[in-house]
Amino acid sequence: MTRRTMIEAIRDAIDVSMERDEKVVVFGEDVGFFGGVFRCTEGLQKKYGTHRCFDTPISETGIVGVAIGMGAYGLRPVAEIQFADYVYPGYDQIVSEAARLRHRSAGDFTAPLVIRMPCGGGIFGGQTHSQSPEALFTHVAGLKTVIPSNPYDAKGLLISAIEDDDPIIFLEPKRLYNGPFNGHHDQPVVPWSKHDLGETPDGHYTVPIGKAAIRREGSALTVLAYGTMVHVALTAAEETGIDAEVIDLRTLVPLDVETIVASVSKTGRCVVVHEATRTSGFGAELAAQVQERCFYHLEAPVLRVTGWDTPYPHAQEWNYFPGPDRVGRALKQAMEG
């Protein structure tokens, strides 16, 4: 067991995977010699050589495109998109190709890729270093979408993702890289080294894809969250004193419906939280499913707390970010509803 930041946990997951399987190859912009702008691949080129960890040209189209070719050949490519905001030039390759290759070839060819990308705001990155595009992937059949909220899960889920035979979008909330940011941007962040979930086993272990985790048990209300918002939701629960059950989804597709339904059936109330823009965000899917599946248990409408339907602003970042106050207000509203 070692205390690791999320960056260290991610790096370790890749390291462990490269060690175990020489078909794992790692690449992306600035990923090779430099080790990535967030240092997630630092040291890997030195350890495994330029054939297994290398820089790429600045072409997200190309990064995803060659990853698909490598996957079809039989490698296990782990590609980094420098920021999730820059994935769109690779979107066609992801949606039209990676997601459908197994199906359209009836299993003849597959694309076992992991596409890692830092997501979310909170670093004054403005509209092109802050986005949370998960819903643009969850709508696409054939993709799995994963988003960890802590080092333990990050490592275990990333190892699972690399070993998985399907294409996986692996979103890394960059605001969590160094500590469990709870949305109080004016308070110092506790580092992962002081947090239980910073404790990560050395070597190989997995966290299963498709399973949520209950971060806080409660009976009054269910909060569905993922990534950074898990910590914000926990804080909002503490601060409002509402006996909320906080579920960390961890995987968005395939979704752990069972855990969600069990919780909402128990609490009868549900608040969904995410940082992405509201309209057609993944919160819509969650709200739709909860009311479909738990309608007769619900005592109040499922509420959504989300980023606004605007680009992520630079200076007004903290007015955009759905922090503990906004989440807290929704919890109270859901209790009253």
Partner: protein
């Protein structure tokens, strides 16, 4: 103040339109045998001129001439001719079946048979093509069972793609034939990635990427060339310039002031421009590029100059946008007729053998069609269960798909 001239937009047009006479006199071609053959490890900078010429081997009298002519076993040439004839017979039969409503869609490669058939002959088992929808010749030239191909066209119970894919979008890993995408261009860069993987693993297998003239405008073409330029993987980058992209001609893809072979120069990749209707030239250029790849010398781009004789697809009507006699004006002839002439000249073929071979092949195709049809067609007979739709979306079917399959009644 100086008077500024008024700007205006240049919108390229094909030289002729319906109602006019077909005309390809604007294309500049080299004479057969004229273009030099550099060593495969040539410095790409030293062969820029080749991108503006045209490698041709066969002259009008059927002789193989010039430095790209090399001795090929006549048996191999006869095999090539048969592959082209079979491809043509296959196309004709599939067209008929489409018009009879047995399938929804079909695409012919008429006039372009030499390229896929000749190229395939230079590959080895384990290599991988990333084809477009007009490279059925790659399968046919390696004698892949026609029935298997037809069952895909008919979306019947023996369709290896389980009715999921549009007809002609074959996928045959065992034949080194990558799953065709309906999205243009996407596979060009995937081929580069596959070749990179082969290099990463110190393997000896090579990849071949395929794209049409029109599709070179897509982003993936550039991504492929950039990555091929940087990592020098073992890949042959084929551009099939058949002059047309549905209704627009190659000028609309940027072919007016330059050639598609020349695209490679800016990436430091060597390129050839080759008469794609000359089976001998196809063989020669293919093996040059394949040898480069195999010897770890990196990528080669080949522009195959040819002509799309057929409509774009069964949904297309070319009389709307090009002269009815457009094909007659095409100066590079028909690949089947040309190879026939060469073989005849060699004394290795004759009109009678030709007629007989054609009849045999048509017979073979017809028999295959009959068998394929016995497994069902799009509209009638057996087909894959609808429940199959939910398979292969993921390796293991996740709960929500199981639920949906149930909702569908399965």
């Amino acid at each position: 103040m100086d008077e500024k001239p008024h700007l205006s937009l240049h919108v390229p047009e094909p030289p002729v339109r319906p109602g006019q006479k077909g005309d390809y006199t604007h294309l500049r071609f080299s004479a057969p045998g004229e273009v030099r053959r550099p060593p495969v490890d040539v410095d790409p900078m030293d062969i820029h001129d080749l991108a503006y010429k045209l490698i041709r081997v066969q002259d009008d009298d059927g002789n193989a001439v010039g430095p790209w002519a090399y001795s090929v076993d006549p048996g191999r040439l006869r095999k090539g001719l048969r592959a082209m004839l079979k491809t043509r017979a296959y196309d004709a039969r599939m067209m008929k079946m489409q018009r009879q409503g047995q399938t929804s869609f079909y695409m012919q490669c008429t006039g372009e048979e030499a390229i896929a058939c000749g190229f395939q002959a230079s590959l080895e088992k384990g290599d991988m093509n990333f084809p477009t929808y007009r490279q059925q010749g790659l399968l046919i030239a390696q004698d892949w069972p026609l029935v298997d191909m037809m069952c895909q066209i008919l979306s019947n119970e023996k369709d290896r793609l389980k009715g999921r894919q549009l007809p002609v979008m074959y996928s045959v890993k065992d034949a080194g034939f990558f799953s065709i995408s309906g999205n243009l261009g996407t596979q060009y860069v995937q081929a580069v990635g596959w070749a990179m993987a082969s290099a990463i693993r110190n393997d000896s297998r090579i990849a071949a990427a395929w794209i049409g003239d029109g599709s070179t405008a897509e982003s993936d073409f550039h991504a492929a060339l950039v990555f091929a330029s940087v990592y020098r993987p073992p890949v042959v980058l084929n551009v099939v310039n058949n002059q047309w992209a549905i209704s627009t001609n190659q000028a609309m893809a940027g072919g007016e002031n330059t050639t598609f072979a020349a695209r490679a120069h800016g990436y430091g990749i060597p390129s050839l421009r080759v008469d794609g209707n000359d089976y001998l030239a196809v063989l020669a250029a293919s093996s040059w590029a394949v040898e480069r790849a195999r010897r770890n010398l990196g990528p080669t781009l080949i522009e195959w100059v040819t002509y799309r004789v057929a409509p774009h697809s069964t949904s297309d009507d070319p009389s709307k946008y090009r002269p009815k006699d457009d094909q007659k004006a095409w100066p590079l002839g028909d690949p089947v007729e040309r190879l026939k002439l060469h073989l005849t000249k060699l004394g290795e073929w004759s009109e009678e053998r030709h007629v007989q071979a054609k009849a045999e092949l048509e017979e073979e195709v017809l028999a295959a069609a009959k068998e394929a049809r016995s497994h069902g067609t799009l509209q009638e007979g057996a087909k894959t269960s609808p429940a199959e739709m939910f398979e292969d979306v993921y390796k293991e079917m996740p709960p929500h798909l199981r639920e949906q399959r149930q909702q569908m009644g399965y």
